[in-house]
């Protein structure tokens, strides 16, 4: 076995030092009744070359973005991954390190996380960021746990225009936190403001998404103000790539900003691993879940970085911890941070403008093909909800279009009652105006 180093001679010498005759004897504390006496029923070992061929064969049975023109989005996007992230991902010092418990060994990853936290704070306009959460769904549950402890309240308000998967994850965990979830319906593709304000009464937190699940910009400042008026924590679920053109949630009164970081150049990878991010107001720092890196000094007054506020964490506080999180998504979050550095402030603004322009182009071209905006009068960021002409099935359009080499988007009928004729089309900077013209032509034929 090529991953093991011990020779027969090594084994004999080591057993002699231990003072036993056989490897089997090392397991003598395991009662006979719970021993496995047959070999594991697994397929035989493969050589590296055999395994490479096997994995390539499995991969070949997946249709990837190089095989079709894809407009799928709905929370995971085919954004460009800058080649420079490979510099980070391929370095064994990052890839094969553990959580930086021993800071003198881990200044590289600690400084990188500190720089990541700075980028998240700048983009969201908030004071503190943790080192990442699992994904854009679980950070919403984290926000609920934080809010319950901060406010002593037990109601969570979520907008219907918050991605259904995020709402599902909140619904899974909320009962364990002793919380109930109230969903505020949408009206015309955005949160119903009056219902939102009413629901916020007595809530621990209120979570909205902008751009929302339909790609539409919500009136974030109004939603945050309504939550603040009830002393419920306003939580914005945002797209990092939108924050070059859209206002920072912290600047309009949000207590927390959370979201899915996959947009920042992370491969789609069938849904993960991606990373969730979470930023908060300064007064919430001691309730933040997960790892946080802080600056300090070494014994010679040199600047250094270290995991800090560990008294919040499970290995110190145990049942009184602010969360159970240990392993998070550090490497992926740092890859996202490299992408953000690669764009810089000017690049991020231009990217945001491009995405808004391309999404508008989708609406224009689709209209010519007979598809109307599902929610007219709204502004979109990088996704557009289109209504199939004549109330036709979006599922059917997607099926026919795929046969023509275009994956036109996500039919929304599964997750939204009454939207069986709505197709959610996503663009990224990898799609061109010509691609959009082709999309329009194909869906025009398929309706």
């Amino acid at each position: 076995m090529s991953f093991l180093s011990l020779t027969d001679a090594d084994r004999a010498a080591m057993l002699a030092t231990v003072g036993v005759e056989t490897v089997e004897e090392l397991f003598r504390d395991i009662p006979e009744a719970v021993r496995l006496r047959a070999p594991l029923a697994l397929d035989p070992a493969l050589t590296e070359a055999q395994l490479a061929a096997h994995l390539a064969e499995l991969a070949s049975r997946n249709t990837h973005t190089g095989d079709e023109l894809s407009f799928l989005g709905y929370g995971v996007y085919d954004h460009y991954s800058p080649a420079v992230i490979d510099v980070l991902l391929a370095r064994g010092e990052f890839l094969t390190a553990y959580t930086p418990y021993q800071p003198e060994m881990s200044q590289g990853v600690l400084q990188a996380i500190f720089e990541y936290q700075t980028a998240i704070c700048e983009l969201t306009g908030l004071a503190v960021s943790n080192a990442s959460g699992y994904d854009g769904c679980t950070v919403a549950a984290d926000a609920c746990f934080l809010a319950a402890h901060h406010t002593g309240r037990s109601k969570v308000v979520v907008a219907e225009t918050l991605h259904p998967m995020v709402r599902e994850v909140v619904a899974t965990f909320a009962p364990g936190f002793g919380m109930e979830v109230v969903t505020v319906p949408a009206s015309g593709g955005v949160v119903d403001g009056a219902a939102w304000a009413a629901a916020c009464e007595g809530a621990a937190c209120a979570i909205f998404q902008t751009p929302n699940v339909f790609g539409i910009l919500e009136d974030g400042p109004a939603l945050a103000a309504a939550a603040n008026a009830c002393e419920a924590l306003p939580v914005a679920h945002v797209d990092l790539l939108s924050l070059g053109v859209l206002e920072a949630p912290g600047a309009y009164g949000c207590a927390l900003a959370i979201g899915e970081g996959q947009s920042a150049g992370i491969p789609m990878s069938f849904g993960g691993p991606h990373f969730g991010f979470m930023a908060a107001r300064a007064d919430l720092v001691r309730r933040m879940p997960g790892r946080i890196v802080g600056e300090t000094l070494d014994s010679e007054s040199k600047r250094a970085f270290v995991l800090t506020l560990q008294t919040r964490e499970q290995h110190i506080r145990r049942e009184k911890a602010t969360s159970n999180m240990t392993t998070n998504q550090t490497l992926i979050a740092l890859a996202g941070w490299v992408t953000l550095c690669w764009y810089g402030p000017q690049g991020l603004r231009e990217l945001g403008e491009l995405l808004m322009g391309l999404s508008a182009e989708v609406a224009i071209k689709a209209k010519a093909a007979g598809y109307e905006l599902a929610f007219p009068g709204t502004t979109t960021f990088k996704e557009v909800a289109l209504r199939v002409p004549g109330g036709g099935s979006a599922e059917e359009v997607a099926r026919k279009a795929r046969a023509l080499g275009v994956n036109p988007g996500v039919p929304l009928g599964h997750d939204f009652a009454g939207l069986a004729d709505v197709l959610l089309v996503a663009v990224t900077e990898k799609r061109t105006p010509d691609d959009i013209a082709e999309l329009a032509e194909v869906i025009g034929q398929c309706s």
Binding site: D43, E122, M325, G344
Partner: protein
């Protein structure tokens, strides 16, 4: 070294964005547009690459050297696995694609489920949880759903946990809405069975333990524990953090456990990445299958006609615990790792256990050994005597090891052992590496007597000397603040002047 923000020069950039003539430029509605640009760094690509490289040079991974961090299973990460995860057919597939268009991905996940069933000796697997801690929380919610289904949720409110447990266990219990009941450890390092018997009753929902425990010891009374728990109608949860000791040797399902989480980033070599990503699938006994997260990956038919699909029609499911179907890239790496071993996973665990016992045998005379037994894949020794006689603590030993070129072991855990040093070599290491590390440990123990100041002053060879962690927690500096950034060195100088 400078922060990237300190290297920023206005007007520089790396990535560029295409511009299309004639493309609409929609206005952001009033009040929603960005007022002040985010202060991301402005840096050209060559210097961005150098910055990342300089950071890497200030970090230590398994690729750099020996990293015997107990309970973390710092084993070799084969590079084929990285290459495989980056194949376009794996990296560039979207989770909302049709099942027909992702048969290879679904088959890989289904095969991984089957492997984990066999390794754990249990009936059903959910790959969804994002990491070990999330696996714990998921498993506990599955247990709650099971008891709720039986009308016992209001009665069974307690989870019993030994005092050696990982901190995640009690934290997860609280997040699941349960109460923690602590159990003592006996003189041999096992769960104190009398204490357990006294504390288990009609209010008990379950037990959470790690086996081998965080002391690196196999729970000798596992059969009696199983009788007590199941006799009370409670369930048994297995924290799989230490599964690397027993693959192919003993299976949690055969020990009587009902729920297990598996840390793919420990036992099955998903690289740790400086703190993630990980993977925390859970395996359960059949009676808990209906409550697993949805969707589940199932196979219809066999052989050439097999079709893999996502089963969302699971009315008793606890729901979703994260987005989509789990960290697929992690599944690719762990599946690849396991396929290199096949049934030889047993040899992996045997090598891990032999390596640990060899080190323990070499170190036992120089350090305190709190429980004098053969160990499993890791062991705990103590610097208690070094501290008492020479003032050299577990922290000092850890920092001094850095000057010998090693990452230190886990220190001060488990909590039941004072001045604990928890050492896990894994199966990856050669005898020469273990010998050199043990030589360093013995030298440090000798030096503690002859020159205790040396350990106190360590490390001398890292990019920074020993850190002031109290300052970090008191004077919170959690982001770069540009012109307003504090100068901690100047503050310290002023304070001491």
């Amino acid at each position: 070294m400078q922060l990237i923000y300190e290297k920023s020069v206005p007007g520089r950039r790396a990535g560029t964005v295409p511009a299309y003539a004639g493309l609409a430029k929609p206005a952001v509605p009033a009040g929603l547009g960005r007022a002040a640009a985010p202060r991301l760094p402005e840096i050209a690509e060559p210097d961005l690459v150098r910055h990342i490289t300089a950071l890497a040079n200030r970090n230590f991974g398994i690729d750099t050297g020996f990293y015997p961090l107990g309970s973390c299973t710092m084993k070799h990460n084969p590079r084929l696995n990285e290459r495989a995860a980056n194949l376009p057919g794996f990296a560039n597939i979207h989770p909302a694609q049709s099942e027909e268009s992702v048969q290879g991905a679904l088959e890989l996940m289904w095969r991984l489920q089957e492997i984990l069933r066999e390794v754990t000796g249990l009936d059903a697997v959910s790959l969804q949880p994002a990491a070990g801690s999330q696996g714990e929380l998921t498993g506990l919610l599955v247990m709650r759903a099971y008891f709720a289904d039986r009308g016992e949720d209001e009665l069974r409110r307690e989870i019993v946990i030994p005092d050696t447990a990982h901190g995640t266990n009690p934290a997860s219990v609280v997040m699941a809405g349960y109460e923690v009941v602590g159990i003592k450890t006996d003189a041999r390092g096992n769960v104190d069975v009398d204490d357990l018997r006294a504390k288990v009753g009609p209010r008990t929902a379950g037990l959470m333990i790690t086996n081998p425990s965080t002391l690196g010891l196999f729970e000798e009374n596992i059969h009696e524990i199983e009788q007590i728990m199941h006799g009370a109608g409670a369930l048994m949860y297995y924290d799989g953090a230490n599964l690397n000791a027993v693959c192919g040797v003993s299976r949690p399902g055969d020990m009587g456990f009902d729920v297990v989480h598996i840390n793919l980033h420990k036992t099955f070599s998903q690289p740790h990445g400086g703190g993630g990503p990980g993977g925390g699938p859970i395996a359960v006994r059949g009676l808990l299958d209906p409550f697993l997260p949805k969707p589940q990956i199932v196979r219809d038919g066999e052989g050439a006609g097999a079709f893999y699909r996502l089963d969302r029609d699971r009315p008793k499911s606890i729901g979703k615990v994260r987005g989509w179907t789990g960290p697929f890239g992690v599944f690719v790496r762990s599946y690849a790792f396991i396929r290199r071993y096949g049934p030889g996973l047993r040899e992996m665990s045997e090598a891990a256990v032999l390596n640990a016992n060899y080190m323990l045998a070499r170190l036992r005379d120089a350090y305190d050994v709190p429980y004098d037994r053969l160990c499993m894949h890791e062991f705990v020794i103590s610097a208690r005597t070094l501290k008492k006689e020479h003032g050299v603590t577990a922290t000092d030993v850890a920092k001094r090891l850095m000057d010998f070129g090693y990452h230190p072991p886990t220190v001060y855990f488990p909590l039941v052992v004072p001045e604990a040093l928890m050492i896990e070599p894994t199966e990856s290491e050669a005898k020469e590496t273990l010998d050199a590390f043990c030589d360093a440990m013995l030298e440090i123990a000798r030096e503690a007597a002859s020159d205790p100041a040396a350990a106190k002053a360590a490390p001398l060879t890292r990019p920074v000397r020993r850190l002031d962690e109290v300052l970090a927690a008191k004077r919170l500096v959690l982001r770069y603040a540009f012109a307003d950034h504090p100068d901690l060195a100047a503050e310290r100088a002023a304070a001491s002047a």
